[in-house]
């Protein structure tokens, strides 16, 4: 388990300047934590593609950025990823929650719960399943080296 404060400290240490996202219940404490930090500007996005657009714009302006979305919203960022981030080489740290993990959840999450990792793999986007904050450091290094988005998957109960 990772404490929310430890998670936020890791973002600050990794110089995440702008974060944008659409809420998920799994992100509740995290987003409150991120929003409370003066080092990070959190922008409520109206949809997941808006979040990745904002984060990408921040990168173009020389700042490191992250998005926070539920895996159900991944469908809304595919076009942005394939026709913008991956071809212009625009890195964004993508925190994606894993609803429907192990086939256990409300019906609307079951299919995406099964497909989340494969979809990211299909796009050759590096994926880490969050267990400790050092993975965030590692993800940032990959993202900066390859200049592409990197996904960090957050399961229920991992960040408290």
């Amino acid at each position: 388990m990772i404490k929310t404060n430890e998670f936020c400290a890791s973002l600050i240490r990794n110089k995440i300047f702008i974060a944008s996202g659409v809420p998920c219940t799994i992100l509740d404490d995290i987003l409150k934590g991120v929003d409370s930090k003066k080092e990070i500007t959190y922008i409520n996005a109206v949809r997941e593609d808006c979040a990745i657009g904002i984060a990408s714009g921040a990168y173009l302006a020389g700042k490191r950025s992250a998005i926070f979305i539920q895996n159900s919203g991944m469908g809304n960022i595919i076009n942005g990823l394939t026709s913008f981030n991956l071809i212009y080489k625009i890195p964004v740290l993508m925190f994606i929650t894993w609803r429907g993990y192990n086939g256990k959840d409300a019906p609307e999450h079951i299919i995406m719960g099964r497909k989340t990792l494969n979809l990211l793999k299909e796009l050759n986007i590096p994926v880490k399943i969050l267990k400790n904050v050092k993975q965030i450091d590692g993800a940032v290094k990959i993202m900066e080296k390859k200049k592409i988005p990197v996904a960090i998957i957050i399961k229920q109960g991992v960040v408290v």
Binding site: A45, C50, G53, I54, L60, I90
Partner: protein, 190 residues
């Protein structure tokens, strides 16, 4: 007004420190052919995403005017982005919609903008200065006013459906465009 002329007017009116973002399709091609420079960013895909990208830039480069240039089809695709721009009071954004009432780049199919007043949407979303212009003179005047003032500003430019189908594509690669643009944002005009 011919759309290409509207783009020419925009690029000749904005300051050398200002940045201009162009949406996918013929708007980027026309901007590239009319007045290419390192403060231009051409978004070749992701229709509808441009205004969110503009918002991200505006948040981080508060000393720059960020001119977003998209068509009505692109603007209507992600109307929610207008709400974010307004709510975050991104005063350095000038949002220009070149409205020909159609999806020009794909054959001129009709867009909802023919019947829906996007200016009212911009006002509801919190944009401060909003106007519609139909000719180069008024576009220039409107732009000069918004460049001096605090936005976010919204200019709807009524343009015809005419365009040159043989307009060549942007010849910069995506990475070239990105690197050149990021260098400009970091270092200022040459």
């Amino acid at each position: 007004m011919i759309r290409k002329d509207a783009i020419k007017t925009i690029l000749n009116t904005i300051d050398k420190d200002d940045i201009a973002l162009f949406t996918t399709g013929f708007i980027s091609r026309e901007a590239f052919s009319v007045f290419d420079r390192s403060s231009n960013f051409y978004m070749l895909g992701s229709m509808g995403l441009l205004s969110a990208v503009g918002a991200g830039i505006a948040l981080c480069a508060k000393d720059r005017k960020v001119v977003i240039v998209e068509g009505d089809g692109s603007a209507f695709m992600c109307l929610g982005n207008l709400a974010v721009i307004g709510k975050e009071k991104l005063n350095n954004i000038i949002h220009i919609v070149l409205d020909n009432g159609a999806y020009g780049s794909t054959g001129g199919q009709v867009c909802v903008s023919e019947e829906i007043d996007i200016n009212k949407i911009a006002k509801s979303c919190g944009y401060k200065k909003i106007e519609t212009v139909k000719d180069a003179d008024n576009l220039k005047k409107g732009l000069q006013k918004t460049l001096c003032g605090k936005g976010p500003a919204f200019i709807r430019v009524l343009v015809s459906k005419d365009f040159n189908e043989n307009m060549p594509r942007v010849s910069l690669t995506c990475e070239q465009n990105k690197k050149r643009f990021m260098k400009f944002l970091k270092e200022g005009p040459a």
